[in-house]
Amino acid sequence: MRLTARIALVAGVVAAAACPAAAQQAPIRIGASLSLTGSYAKLGSNQHEGYKLCERDVNVKGGLLGRKVEFVVYDDQSAPPTAVRLYEKLITEDKVDGVMGPYSSPVTEAAANVTEKYKKVMVSPLAATTSIFRKGRKYIFMVISPAEGYLEGLIDVAAKRGLKTVAVVNEDTLFSKAAASGALELAKKRGLHVVYQEAYPKGNTDFSALLTKVKSLNPDVIAAATYFDDAVALTRQMKELNVNPRMYGVTVGGDLPEFYDTLRQNAEYIYGATQWEPTLPYPGQKEFLDAYRKEFGHDPSYHSAAGYAGCLVYTEGVKRAGSLDSDRVREALLKLETRTMFGDYKVDADGFQLAHKMALFQWLDGKKYTVWPDELASAKTRFPTPPWNQR
């Protein structure tokens, strides 16, 4: 982690030498801890790349308040207690000018206690748990859609298609529970009858009994609040037990290329929820993709995009406030309404995200096509889902 900071510093110095106008003042230092090792390593690293690209782009465009921007990033090893220590260090020892959020809800939940204590604005691009933003915290801002909205598209399409019954299953963890309760509420609101609901423990990979019960109820829709492992296992066993709803959608995991690589033709027709796709027609999307691929040699994930967009939102807030003062930046971020390559940003008085929309995609011929909301759709839904042996 030292090395990262040092490289950032060297890069800063080199860039500063080439650009004398912005070099006159010391750079604005933005601190963050990210999960660069540990169980979230891959996702945290993608977010890190988003931050790095944002740092570069902001500096290319003349910096912030006439000064260069420089990220100070440490590795929290995917552990909330480590993140707490690192944010303390960033704020009290390194005396950074601003902070950005870490990766994941649990780490953000822990780190937010520190940033609140020191009244530091923290735009948290990768925290989707509603409760983090409903605890009376004043300085934390949300960028992505909350967990409750993940299955909104699936339920909406089902209701429009005149489907009547839905089964909701979810992993028994914070995020999945929230996604399932959001789906239940939406289903009720849209007049769908919830015929079955069940949670299963984390790490469960045998769904025989659960699916046997679902099959006997024969619902039109199966809405599953999943991660990757369980999404794959659930799908495989649905095929094995010939459970064949008219629509079947998952939350997390279904958007990964590995999902299709693993399931091949069995992934066809499955719906999934996504915070962001490179194909969505948002402003600046192409520039972001090109720059990202060129810089890092691979495609961005939504974690990269959210990191980049979160950093843009923060710098926009600073620009509008004309200062780094927490309270003035906070005012500006509360008022800000903007659209980045990640989608819309607008928050309520708690900093809770209101404008960003989840998209619903469907796997069709090996590709993800956005099918909802209509204004972003790149294809029509293929409906209903045919029997397993005809996919």
């Binding site: 891959k42 019960k213 590995e258």
Partner: protein
């Protein structure tokens, strides 16, 4: 519905039984509870994955190779580390194998990253009337049952197997009779690791492979050998099938969330009522 759930339970049970048999062997022979048993299964799954990826070999054909790799690894672990704690109090062996377990998982994370890997080979099922037999789980059942059977024959019939059982009954007497106990320990640990590896190979076709996939198998195997009677090898088979059935039936009649709880409540009850397990402990 009930029939389907019983089928699923028995299919899962054979795999539990085979993997747990490895744990039972180590415990029976050395009185060591190998916490690293699940992570060994994880390494087996990775071995299959890399062979499958590099050579495009049918994952079921990798089972012998994976078992050989894990046998060597297991014997090495015994030779370098575990032999030091065989005579020590049980807490020492728990701590040591716990440490090995953490090391293996973290090394796997470093070497293989935590990216999810999958071996996609068979999907779908054979149907028999209203019952569906998942292809991948049915094959796992057959292979696991066959391997468990082979290990039994080996233990019952061969000279080496008899030496293992003798060591398990009384190390001193075995030694007096000229059995090289250290060698028996290495072979036992190797066989146990090979069984975990075979489990990993079979599981890799069913679920995604990642460094933390193994731990749950340590717990399940432990549950199985306590149910069946620690150190009692036929008991491990009974315990495996029993665990499979209990899990499935509990999720049918209660909820999937409670199925694990039910299995562990059963564990506590058996420890209270019949601490030697259903078939009694440590008979060979």
């Amino acid at each position: 519905m009930l029939g389907q759930v019983v089928v699923s339970g028995i299919l899962a049970g054979a795999l539990y039984a085979m993997v747990a048999l490895g744990l039972a062997l180590i415990f029976g022979v050395m009185r060591v509870i190998n916490i690293a048993h699940g992570p060994l299964l994880m390494l087996g799954a990775y071995t299959t994955f890399f062979i499958y990826q590099a050579l495009g070999l049918n994952p079921y054909l990798t089972v012998p190779i994976t078992m050989l790799v894990l046998f060597i690894l297991g014997a090495l672990l015994q030779r370098t580390l575990v032999y030091r704690v065989v005579d020590a109090p049980e807490l020492s062996s728990l701590l040591l194998t716990f440490g090995i377990s953490i090391a293996l998982v973290n090394l796997a994370q470093l070497a293989f990253t935590s990216n999810l890997r999958t071996v996609e080979y068979v999907t779908g099922s054979y149907t028999l009337g209203p019952l569906a037999f998942s292809k991948s789980r049915l094959i796992a059942f057959v292979v696991a049952a066959a391997l468990a059977g082979l290990v039994f024959l080996f233990l019952q019939r061969t000279r080496l197997g008899k030496a293992i059982r003798a060591t398990s009954q009384s190390r001193e007497v075995a030694m007096v009779c000229g059995v090289d106990v250290q060698r028996i320990h290495r072979i036992t640990f190797g066989i146990a690791a090979a069984l975990a590896g075979a489990g990993g190979a079979l599981v890799s076709v069913i679920v995604a492979i990642q460094p933390e996939m193994g731990q749950i198998w340590t717990f399940k195997s432990f549950l199985v050998i306590v149910l069946g009677g620690a150190g009692n090898y036929p008991g491990a088979l009974l315990g495996g099938v029993l665990l499979g059935l209990v899990e499935q039936l509990a999720s049918l009649f209660l909820t999937t969330q409670l199925s694990e709880a039910v299995a562990y409540i059963l564990l506590v009850l058996i420890l209270l009522v019949r601490p030697t397990g259903l078939l009694g402990g440590r008979q060979t």
